[in-house]
Symmetry: C2
Subunit: 99 residues, 2 copies
């Protein structure tokens, strides 16, 4: 619904040799995140031209739900593992729907 | 459906003073694109923290449908107008769904 929910696009780029390990960590976030209050959709994508380039496309009820998501144990545990495996800091952006 | 469709995340960053003009051009692409064969979903997002930062999140039946989309008159006409209004070349990436 335009204007009523928050979308997130979150890009995580793995070090090339760590691609499979990062993929497993990120894929492991999908089920627990979809169970969270306020999560409407949460999908993990992998770039066809560059397999080290992952992106979550997400829809949330509101900003409070996203803030709570970032404090969950599954996210915190992933954030502890990722720094040695990724090529840059995660790029996480919040959006509204224009149409 | 995981693995069966192609997702596109396309980022277009306007020059700050051209934000409204870029928004209108991009919003004008939504209806004709949703009418295209092979377009499953096509949404225009605007960054909450940086209104000049626009992103399309798209789902397509296959790569051929995206290739055809990029040859439509509405896309070609937008691409003619955008160069003087945007801060960088559009960043268009194709993805498969991991899960």
């Amino acid at each position: 619904m335009a204007g009523t929910t928050i979308r997130v696009v979150a890009r995580i780029v793995a070090r090339k040799e760590k691609t499979d390990q990062v993929r497993d960590i990120l894929a492991g976030l999908v089920d627990p995140t979809r169970s969270e209050t306020g999560c409407i959709s949460y999908e993990l994508l992998q770039n066809k031209a560059d397999p080290a380039d992952f992106t979550f496309v997400e829809e949330w009820k509101d900003d409070a739900a996203i803030d709570a998501h970032l404090r969950t144990q599954h996210i915190i545990q992933a954030l502890v593992k990722l720094p040695d495996l990724i090529a840059a800091a995660p790029d996480i952006r919040r959006y509204t729907v224009v149409r």
